[in-house]
Symmetry: C2
Subunit: 257 residues, 2 copies
């Protein structure tokens, strides 16, 4: 079934982006931020796709770790994953999608690797969305974590190589780590080092020719249109409900139905 | 801030509805089902609105009953309430909205009345959305409940009168009870009696000149476009994630920003 709205909407955005950010609605801002990104690749949604959201607490958010059934609120939680999944499930009732969330709070990229056989490969996903990196930096400040940006990059690439080998043809989506200053968790001490993790994720997406969801740009643009960092996030790291919806909108731009 | 997308989208829908259901996307179907409803009134969203979702398990769905902070996933749960709230919070960052969910599983309309002082009036809401009625019928089959359709109507009207008296100028939204056959919970024995509750809710909305969210029509139309009753609901009464998103889309059509 052809979804005509996104096309008309996208054409509209092209025109609308001539204006300033202040005159655009938030959904338009999201489209503009994602659409003008250098690597605005998308994955094609197919019948019987098995979609896996992977990441840290931002992804984990409210899910029941004992849930086994895809497409349920227990599985998906209350964060961006359920907001994005709900839209896909509503729009594509005939596609027989199965959507899982296996984000785990506190995870860094090496911890995804530790549980990847069980929490990724065994599910036989056809689309894997990975959002990881904020803890790889944050825990160096708060928990004495000794990993470096080089570890992050090497571990991330090894994870992608392993995934592509185990799941030939898998469609991967790389999501940008983000942080908002002026909040409980994020201060100037984060910079410029945290930006290396954002850049690394983007570089990896480009090197692997994968869609990249530019969450930092999307949040930065949203900050210009009402709502400060404490509106869009709880603490600068974890999104509010408004911020989770912003993420879901940005994420959905990486998928074409 | 003017939101241009909904306007262009609505104009598009006008054109699109000339086609058949099979060629329309689900969001278009929702708009068409709501837009052609006889009572397509809307409430106007204003700055500082305090929005309350009230109802039974369909509204309650996954919320933490101890949560006190509006706009949080703990408060809002994992059902249509958070999906609708997330969209409002994302689209209107400058409006200072406060959104609460106080649905309680198993509730019938008289049980809303029992807890109305605490769970509605005390919150001083400016917009109250009420979705109640399926248990007023269902529990006559399953739990020996003796209430009749006349009780439902009288109790519902008394609740609205009381709300309008306690909260002058409150913007009310009446949501249709719905059920889908061919499911675990809903069989032919429900009909035609269950339809009286749907009609009663609609009649009350018309008598009080209030927006009405026609969930049954929306689900009925969605059934024509892929996905059966067990796709859109878990048991015919409780929506799946896909069904909750369908409800949120329909609910949002009752609000203009």
């Amino acid at each position: 079934m052809k979804n005509l709205i996104p096309n008309s909407r996208r054409n509209f955005i092209k025109t609308a982006t001539i204006g300033t950010a202040a005159t655009l609605s938030i959904p338009q801002i999201v489209s503009a931020a994602v659409g003008t990104s250098a690597s605005a690749k998308k994955v094609q949604l197919s019948n019987n796709d098995i979609i896996l959201f992977q990441g840290d607490s931002i992804t984990d958010w409210g899910r029941d770790h004992k849930a086994t059934e895809p497409n349920t609120s227990s599985m998906l939680g209350t964060g961006y994953a359920i907001l994005a999944a709900a839209e896909l499930l509503m729009k594509h009732p005939a596609k027989n999608l199965k959507i899982y969330n296996r984000g785990v709070s506190g995870n860094k990229v090496y911890q995804l690797a530790e549980r990847w056989d069980t929490d990724c490969i065994a599910l036989k996903p056809t689309i894997v969305s990975i959002h990881i990196g904020v803890n790889d930096f944050w825990h160096t400040l708060t928990s004495g974590y000794k990993g470096t940006i080089d570890n992050y990059i090497a571990d991330y690439k090894a994870l992608l190589d392993r995934t592509q080998k185990a799941l030939p043809g898998v469609k991967l989506i790389i999501c940008e780590p983000f942080a908002l200053r002026g909040t409980k968790a994020v201060s100037d001490v984060w910079y410029p080092n945290f930006d290396l993790y954002r850049k690394a994720a983007k570089d990896i997406a480009e090197q692997y020719n994968l869609p990249f969801v530019p969450y930092q740009s999307v949040f930065d643009k949203a900050l210009q249109s009402g709502g400060d960092a404490n509106y869009w996030t709880i603490d600068g790291v974890h999104p509010s409900v408004a911020g989770a919806k912003l993420m879901a909108q940005a994420w959905l731009e990486a998928v074409k139905g």
